[in-house]
Symmetry: C2
């Protein structure tokens, strides 16, 4: 892109097309230290509340603060505690208090600097402060970069369940710096790969093949490859979201691997697996169900299992988790209807369909 700020290598630009809610995603190496330029070019000005957590703040807040100040922004850092258990109404209230104390206005902006928790919280605060102010995502985990930063889902948890309070609210701008992944714990990076593999399975045989060939280079954090793979992942998610922004229907295809994955997270009380790890197992199981039900050929099933394993992700439901328990969790899921559980089935690499299965059929398919 000819008008990119200087000093950024390998940058790819894409657009999420949602009418008057459209926005660009920039993916590249070194974007974080140019954040101020990007915001300025996007027409933003005045006050920016940077919402982040202590871990990320220690690594990147100074750089982002300096870049924003250098571009003329009036910066207010807002720290929220790290961890999913703090994605709640209490943290939200703390953010509101700070936005009010710092006199943010309708023309001001919220920037989320962190992973999915920070992004969801900051996005919901932006969606609801003064009935909605501009919102910029600067995701610092692979999972947030390829998944939660695209598509406008924001919100907080309730003690009774995840994301029960929230809004669909699109950011004004997403800035993805692949360089920050070098500071991400390796286990979190690997977990994020599950969503990347998912995009290959549901939508893109070429991405799937690239991952099969280059997964080692990717886990070595090759920045050119990271830029390419992350931009491709975001483009796939954007294309799906553009067709069904509010998840009335087709957007649910993004839940491939998530029906079993979510149930597994719940059954293990969100302690044993990172989200992506549970999705790894969920995808392997969904692929097995797809094959067992006659939708997916054995060759594709084997390729999917092999890639998940090669990425370093788990494949199998652990023995200590009871199948009955898993099925119950799936039935509680808001996507269940009429006694059957709706699965995203793969019908080969890059192809999907929806299929509802009864608990009995699931048990049989999983060989339990």
């Amino acid at each position: 892109m000819s008008d990119s700020p200087p000093g950024i290598d390998l940058m790819q630009t894409l657009t999420v097309n949602l009418g008057d809610r459209s926005y660009p995603i920039y993916v590249g190496d070194g974007i974080l230290s140019k954040a101020g330029d990007f915001l300025q070019r996007a027409g933003l000005r005045g006050k920016v509340a940077v919402i982040t957590n202590p871990t990320v703040a220690q690594l990147y807040l100074d750089t982002v603060h300096e870049s924003l100040s250098g571009a003329g922004f009036d910066v207010t850092p807002v720290l929220v505690p790290d961890g999913e258990q703090h994605k709640d109404l209490r943290s939200l209230s703390v953010i509101y208090d700070r936005l009010i104390a710092e006199r943010l206005e309708r023309q001001s902006c919220v920037l989320a600097l962190g992973g999915g928790v920070v992004g969801d919280l900051a996005g919901f605060a932006a969606a609801t402060f003064l009935r909605g102010i501009a919102y910029v995502q600067l995701p610092t985990t692979l999972l947030a970069q390829v998944d939660s930063s695209v598509g406008g889902k924001t919100g907080v948890n309730h003690q009774e369940g995840k994301n029960l309070v929230g809004a669909f609210y699109q950011p004004r701008l997403v800035l993805i710096d692949v360089a920050v992944l070098q500071s991400l714990p390796r286990r979190e990076f690997i977990a994020g790969l599950a969503e990347v593999i998912k995009y290959g399975v549901i939508e893109d045989p070429a991405l799937f093949k690239l991952l099969e060939e280059e997964i080692g280079k990717l886990t070595s954090l090759d920045r050119a490859l990271l830029t390419q793979v992350i931009a491709t992942s975001c483009a796939i998610k954007a294309k799906i979201v553009e067709q069904d922004e509010r998840e009335n229907d087709y957007r649910a295809v993004l839940n491939f691997g998530h029906t079993v994955g979510h149930a597994l997270e719940a059954a293990t009380h969100y302690q044993k697996y990172l989200h992506g790890e549970a999705v790894g197992i969920g995808m392997a199981q969904a692929a097995a169900i797809s094959a067992q039900q006659g939708f997916c050929d054995q060759r594709s099933l084997e390729r999917i299992r092999k890639l998940i394993k090669k990425a370093g992700l788990p494949l199998e439901i652990p023995r200590e988790v009871s199948m009955q328990n898993l099925i119950q969790s799936m039935e509680m899921d808001k996507k269940s209807a009429g006694g059957k559980i709706k699965f995203v089935i793969c019908t080969g690499i890059g192809k999907t369909r929806f299929h509802a299965l009864s608990p009995g059929e699931i048990l049989t398919a999983l060989g339990a």
Copy 2:
């Protein structure tokens, strides 16, 4: 309308045209007891949480409950305490808890039965529960019927200010029953008339003339006239909102009389005036400023003052309120910019423009 439920007289139907967020407003006599039919015809089904307060519940909850149940809905009443001071995050949290406990789903619906406080709270809860579920307004005050139920502003107050947290979220349906106004305290009814007069001043000379001629019949609660006047008011607001849904610009014309009005409410700690009463004074003062600045002829100024007075609304800023105090409140208002205060000026009955005035100019114009 040929497809209206039986037993409703004088009904008028209008549509707020906002693309895929468009919705109908029904105004008539006897609509409340047919609520279930209207919801059913709008394609709603399943669970309905009726959000209301104890005062309104005692008068109308049984009727609405019966109508909804009769139409096959599964009804959950949710009572919130009466009064602006309860339009806060705490009440919102109570509503979320109930919606979750009653297992409302994405296909479920929230119905606001009450005045502006109930409407704003219920609307914001609907906007943010499960990232947005359907929302129906059944306003029971004149103010809510002609103002807050149209246009999609929802939200709660923060101790630092009103409506600091909220969302633009359009209802699926608005049901206005003029019969309920007979139970509204007379002072509240009169206060609601301020907004009706405002629509005449800013947009509609014919409405203004009708009010001049028939204000007595209106305050006697003539239902045919109420239906006509309320439908006209809603249509004017709808037309303005359609042009500028998120108040980037033109929608601010609805603030005629509100710059001084809001300041007066703040200066008297929200104790002395109902909102509409403060707006009555605010309109008289805004008209005086319009004339003093050479935008509005004396004849129009006199007609405006006379109508406000005839409606039973106050005209003058009380002596005990200091002008300095008022100006300070106006400067705090989020609509001020660059040291000047933005006023909606009338340039005759039915015509407006924006004009920024310095504090000194305001003091001079108000003859202080």
